[in-house]
Symmetry: C2
Subunit: 234 residues, 2 copies
């Protein structure tokens, strides 16, 4: 009964699985095998519903198949902060699982209607006895995800560790410039989001951007930026 239900679910949601980084290269049959192997469950959540509750026992890693959610942490003093946003294809819990956490360190809350895949953490992170063929690949994909997240965090830290708003901006903009190999590029944030990303006051940042434009260091319009490296380099 449960067995059949799972088969049906995978048939129903295979396209969503296929679209994720961690299952992208698996066939429907292989997905089925893994679904049993990882003891998966699909579940839908409404907007504002709690998908994961901070402090509860951590049995599963989740994969967001549809919708958006955010990771929220409440510290010992009761301060609540949004740790990150999750979108389609993102996972939560991998780091904790590998680091040996027994309890969820954050809550995950649906920003809109979500479809979530729960996977048993032990089954997922330990290559299985019967070596279901694609497990190694899933682990590698998982590792890539964590590695990429690491790189993003390190980038952000580089910017945030600059003292002034201007330095933060230049650190950010030049990193984008480096990535795109161009000094004319589009950023993935609007101004408000950028201020939020850099943890600075929006109006102060907007002000600083204006100054930099006046000084001829940069030019910008909406998300389109132009870095005048000749003015910046020595």
């Amino acid at each position: 009964m449960l067995f059949l239900q799972q088969i049906y679910e995978i048939m129903e949601y295979f396209n969503e699985l296929k679209a994720t980084k961690i299952f992208s290269s698996a066939s429907e049959f292989e997905c089925q095998a893994m679904m049993f192997c990882f003891k998966t469950r699909f579940k839908t959540f409404d907007k504002n519903e709690k998908i994961i509750t901070q402090g509860e026992r951590m049995e599963d890693i989740i994969l967001l198949l549809k919708g958006c959610a955010y990771v929220e942490n409440t510290d010992i003093l009761g301060n609540i902060s949004i740790v990150m946003q999750l979108k389609k294809g993102d996972v939560y819990g991998v780091e904790g699982a590998y680091a040996g956490d027994d309890y969820y360190k954050d809550s995950v809350i649906a920003t809109e209607k979500c479809l979530v895949l729960f996977m048993n953490k032990h089954r997922l992170i330990n290559p299985c006895e019967n070596r279901c063929k694609r497990h190694d690949l899933v682990i590698k994909n998982l590792m890539r995800l964590v590695a990429e997240s690491n790189i993003k965090l390190l980038d952000k830290l580089t910017h945030l560790s600059k003292k002034s708003t201007r330095e933060k901006l230049l650190s950010y903009l030049s990193s984008i410039s480096e990535k795109t190999k161009s000094n004319y590029f589009e950023i993935p944030f609007n101004i408000t989001e950028l201020a939020n990303y850099l943890s600075v006051d929006r109006s102060a940042m907007s002000n600083e951007l204006s100054k930099m434009k006046k000084e001829g260091l940069i030019d910008y319009d909406k998300r389109q930026f132009h870095l005048f490296n000749n003015k910046l380099k020595f």
Copy 2:
């Protein structure tokens, strides 16, 4: 010839390998097998010598077996910043390898005499055909390392994204308090290092700490801190 040399090297350095997180559970024989599998090379570096050069083609992941080093990045504008410190047992290059980087994104420089193990990144991250028995475990250990690094970075980001020095301090101190499950604890930094970690001016931070002490929020002496939660919570 080379073959014999490698055997000798592993015999010579087995204790160092054993002491690292990624090879801790492997026997000498298994280490030998893996060393061939990963095409390893041991190499020593003097103080201030460059172990890895930013921009060069990335073939290897390195594991620091003896000594200390630091990771240094030069951005597009020519600004140099220290990304992190490496100590015995730390690896560099794993994230880049999994993220598919072709070139080293940073330089690694020895702070003192170092012994370094170079491992071919492809061999290391792809479970091998002949399935040398411990490879899976090494990959899992590697993943744990990256996962833990991720958690640390996220922690630091939480603190740095606070706007005021006081908030940064409280965020940091309460996270330690949470980890140690006590409001009386020792921090792993001295005051100067803490200011550096939190990216704030040392003297300003010292001043802020004094104020907080006067206000009865905290008490401290050297690295020993006491958080008065009752004063902090609402």
